[in-house]
């Protein structure tokens, strides 16, 4: 701090230009000299006590089996700290002025700058005079915390009697003073010697490690997604093979199997056919999307059949938004890419994919034909109604038993939404913006961009879907439904408005921003969780009770519902943010293109 003050007032911190500042900066000189004295360990300042203790303990330490090593090193260190502290004080504040310009400008700064070092220096002086009173409790508490046990007895005092540590201290001060006295000669001697340049050594070291790292990266990190993925899949496949004990464990387990009814086989055939169609028609991108949605539908049906109504509802609504998203993106992506992979590569990947499918399918088969090993789920089933206040165990698990997971997941979803916004909002700039502006519509568009029937029916549907969304949200605790599904359903209702009436019409009628929805959702989920702390319960514990109102009858209110509201809000916000932004980008591109066309026509006429 003193160095800073001197620099500030004199304009330089080069000690070779400074000197005799005590004449022009008396207060700073007193503070700086006392501080340097404490650093050098001159009695009766506080630094003397700490240095005495350090030297005394150093006497008891043996390193590499050599008893004198640590005490000697400690004494040498003490010599140098005396030397540089004294040089700091003497050459700065005393002696003769070496540079008239710096000396002429310098004067004591205001109280504001002096106060901070002054407080510390006063402490350093008092610590030397009244050590036990000022620092005894702090030192013993810190010492106790460091050794992790009860605080040891600490005796702080200036005079320890004549002992070896005192001798080392005296020696250090004496040699330190001598070094300062012969300082000029020492500097000349040092300058005459050739010495290692630390900066050059550092730069050489950096360069060598840089080259080594580059070589390593080129060796292991091929800049090809395909190669990296291939390696990843291969390792996972090997792990599956390894997990079966190289075939030592029988593939099929003892669990009793369920016979497949006719429609299950039909659905399975549909799924397999759709997957093959995606692979065969991968270049026909719009058709591939239709096949993908068929697969999603079969999965949703499977969830219905296998007693997972919540999953089926979620899957089908996610399916709608995913396909919408892919369609919007495909609008801007090239529709028909040239065939790039060679036949050999495709055969290799095909064989590899078949092996992967066999491996994972085999693992699934091995799992499905064995009985579960004491699942923890029985706890969730037993405590859902009595502890969580809801009969839909899946929903109670989401908002109560495993609410911490859910909280993390909605945060991730919110981040994904915001990243998408950030990626799309900056697309209009630079090379991407130029490509967007020269984008050509390559699909024939309907002459009527907003068909009347579609517009009217979606507007009538909106309030109905909103009511359905609220219904799904409210029943979620006890029947299939809840925040995730309600959020998706409501998002689809709004997306239909964007789809039917266009981005501008819908966006101008929107009152709440998607960013606000995401932020509100995360915050309300966190605060609901924190609310539990006020009642001495764990984070995210829920409470519920039953109330009754005239006409409505008895109903339940649970704090989990507030948490679910957060989930609802984040899902709605993130879905709308992603899709509305994407549709907006496409529209911006189309509009820029239309303007160009109009200009061309004007030029022609």
């Amino acid at each position: 701090m003193t160095a800073g003050i001197v620099d500030h007032e004199s304009g330089t911190r080069d000690i070779r230009k400074l000197g005799a500042l005590a004449k022009v900066m008396p207060v700073t000189a007193v503070i700086g000299t006392l501080a340097a004295g404490a650093m050098a360990g001159i009695p009766p300042l506080g630094g003397f006590i700490s240095k005495e203790m350090m030297l005394y303990e150093a006497l008891n330490v043996s390193l590499f089996g050599i008893d004198w090593l640590v005490p000697v090193v400690a004494t040498i260190a003490a010599i140098f700290s005396v030397a540089y502290s004294l040089r700091f004080a003497m050459h700065l504040f005393f002696g003769r002025a070496r540079d008239d310009e710096a000396h002429g400008k310098a004067h004591d700064p205001g109280v504001g700058m002096l106060a901070a070092p002054a407080v510390l220096v006063v402490l350093a002086v008092l610590l030397g005079l009244l050590p036990m009173l000022l620092a005894g409790t702090i030192v013993s508490a810190v010492a106790g915390a460091v050794i992790g046990g009860p605080a040891p007895l600490v005796e702080l005092s200036l005079w320890h009697g004549v002992n070896l540590a005192l001798g080392m201290s005296v020696l250090a001060i004496a040699i330190g003073v001598a070094l300062l006295w012969r300082h000029a000669d020492l500097l000349r001697w040092y300058a005459a010697k050739s010495h290692a340049d630390a900066r050059a050594m550092f730069q050489r070291g950096m360069k060598a490690s840089d080259i080594a790292v580059r070589k390593l990266i080129v060796a292991i990190h091929r800049p090809s997604l395909q190669r990296m993925l291939f390696a990843t899949f291969a390792i996972v496949l090997l792990m599956i093979v390894d997990g079966t004990g190289g075939g030592a464990i029988p593939l099929t387990g003892p669990r009793e199997l369920l016979p497949a009814p006719f429609f299950a086989i039909a659905a399975w055939l549909l799924l397999v056919a759709a997957t093959i169609a995606v692979l065969v028609e991968e270049r026909q991108r719009f058709r591939a999307l239709i096949y993908i949605s068929v697969i999603g539908l079969v999965i949703a049906l499977a969830f219905v059949y296998f007693s997972a109504p919540d999953l089926a509802l979620t899957q089908i609504s996610v399916e709608v938004v995913t396909i919408l998203l892919l369609l919007l993106a495909l609008n801007l992506l090239p529709k028909l890419p040239p065939l790039l992979s060679s036949t050999g590569l495709r055969v290799r990947d095909g064989v590899f994919a078949a092996l992967g499918g066999l491996g994972v399918g085999g693992a699934a088969w091995a799992m499905l034909t064995r009985n579960p090993n004491d699942p923890i789920s029985s706890f969730h089933l037993a405590n859902s109604y009595s502890g969580g206040g809801g009969t839909n165990v899946v929903n109670v698990t989401l908002v109560d038993f495993r609410a911490f997971d859910t909280m993390g997941e909605i945060i991730v979803l919110g981040i994904a939404g915001l990243v998408i916004y950030a990626l799309l909002d900056t697309t209009v700039r630079g090379a991407a913006g130029a490509r967007l502006r020269s984008w050509q519509e390559d699909m024939p568009h309907s002459p009527e961009s907003h068909p009347m029937m579609f517009v009217m029916s979606t507007r009538i549907l909106l309030p109905l879907v909103l009511v359905a969304g609220i219904f799904i949200f409210l029943r979620g605790h006890n029947e299939p439904g809840g925040g995730f599904i309600a959020g998706l359903v409501v998002a689809i209702a709004f997306l239909l408005q964007y789809l039917a009436s266009g981005y501008d019409w819908t966006d101008s009628r929107r009152r709440i921003g998607e960013h606000d929805l995401i932020g509100f959702g995360v915050l309300i989920a966190i605060f609901t969780g924190l609310g539990a702390l006020a009642f001495d319960a764990n984070f995210l514990s829920t409470a519920f009770d039953y109330f009754s109102l005239p006409l409505v009858g008895e109903f339940e209110l649970a704090t989990a519902m507030l948490f679910d509201l957060g989930v609802f809000s984040v899902v709605l916000g993130a879905v709308l943010l992603a899709l509305a932004q994407l549709s907006h980008i496409a529209q911006r591109a189309a509009r820029a293109h239309a303007m160009q066309e109009a200009e061309k026509q004007e030029d022609a006429s």
Binding site: A260, F306, Q315, L332, S341, F352, G362, L368, A431, A434
Partner: protein
């Protein structure tokens, strides 16, 4: 006789095979489609870890004693929603990389550029 377990396990296998094949293609859109197939497979696999149970939805009732395992269902429910977030992010990255480089090659390889590209 074909069992439901066989249908589910083989469907997972088929989806994984399709996912591997498509993600190894060089074009971003195929990779996104492959990711979608993968997420169907993974979600179904995770769900199946609760084993296949018919007509016993985990809606608690005093009179019912046997239920489907609710825990994998809860995990998969959030996984499905996160899958959407992941797919959306992958799609937007795909789109942005195409717009920035004029190529829909996964490694941004200019060899894959389209002829009508302005740059």
């Amino acid at each position: 006789m074909i069992s439901l377990e066989f249908l589910v396990a083989s469907a997972i296998g088929v989806l994984v095979a399709g996912g591997i094949y498509l993600t190894l293609r060089g074009r971003t859109f195929q990779v996104v489609l492959g990711l979608t197939l993968f997420s169907y497979a993974v979600n179904t696999f995770l769900f199946a870890s609760g084993r296949l149970v018919v007509d016993r939805a985990p809606i608690w009732s005093k009179t019912v004693t046997e239920y489907a395992d609710p825990l994998p269902q809860a995990l998969v429910l959030t996984a499905i929603v996160i899958t959407f977030g992941m797919t959306a992010l992958a799609v937007i990255l795909t789109l942005r990389s195409f717009l920035e480089t004029g190529s829909d090659q996964v490694d941004g390889d200019p060899k894959g550029k389209h002829e009508d590209d302005p740059s």
